[in-house]
Amino acid sequence: MPDTAKPDSLKIRVLVRPKEGILDPQGEAVRGALPALGFDGVKTVHVGRLIEMEVESADEVDAMCRRLLANPTVEEYEWEVVS
């Protein structure tokens, strides 16, 4: 790839969610509130965090996720380059 075509930044999207089995009171509360608003048929709700970044290179993204953006004790993450 010629240098000129190299984008000077990448857009990264990180999704962080409570690990399976970890209490998610926010998710529970949302699920509990839905019927009262007339929304039925929602079986589960989980609330997590969305982090969107522009970075120069994707090299360190995984390390950032592991060490900063998610807490491995209670959370799991996934990330992707969106553009």
Partner: protein
Amino acid sequence: MRVGVTVFPGSNCDRDALHAVKLMGAEPVELWHADADLKGSDAVIVPGGFSYGDYLRPGAIARFAKVMAPLEEFAREGGPVLGVCNGFQVLCEAHLLPGALLQNTHLRFACDRVRVRVETADTPWTAACERGEELVLPVAHNEGNYFADAETLARLEDEGRVVLRYLENPNGSMNDIAGVCNEARNVVGVMPHPERVSDSALGSDEGLKILRSVLAGATV
């Protein structure tokens, strides 16, 4: 004895802790987050507040602050470290203590006085208490709901590392845990604020029992 108090951007109980250190009869030392230096502290308190606004997760950013490197070193060498509230969260994030502090199950900030029981006197921060002793301590937090996986939890209980236990659980924490210590027992994290009840002028100095414990250890 010199007791250091870390100051992160957004810490807000740092001044209270420094004041309490004076009341407990030790010399308070302010430890600025950007200086990798414990300034000869004999013990360190990581105080409450909202370090870095609690943005992302409480304690998540603070654990990377420069002052944390010497603090981790100090802790590994057996130096007494007490994390209070946000300080507890920071110590968990830094893996100096096991587990994590999740959002209160009722999803509200909880500011109240709660009764807790001292579950072990075998830490530098509870040495002056009796095991089984009840204290009334203030809590003020949004993420005080202690979580650890089943295995960790079992170990904490077996090894007597639950330091304080709520008699009335304000946040949904597992096994009513209000405070724990590390394996070597020198690092303690508690959600209640002993520094807020260290002055009889405010009606109670029960918190001094906890803070002063570390003085006893120092004379050994």
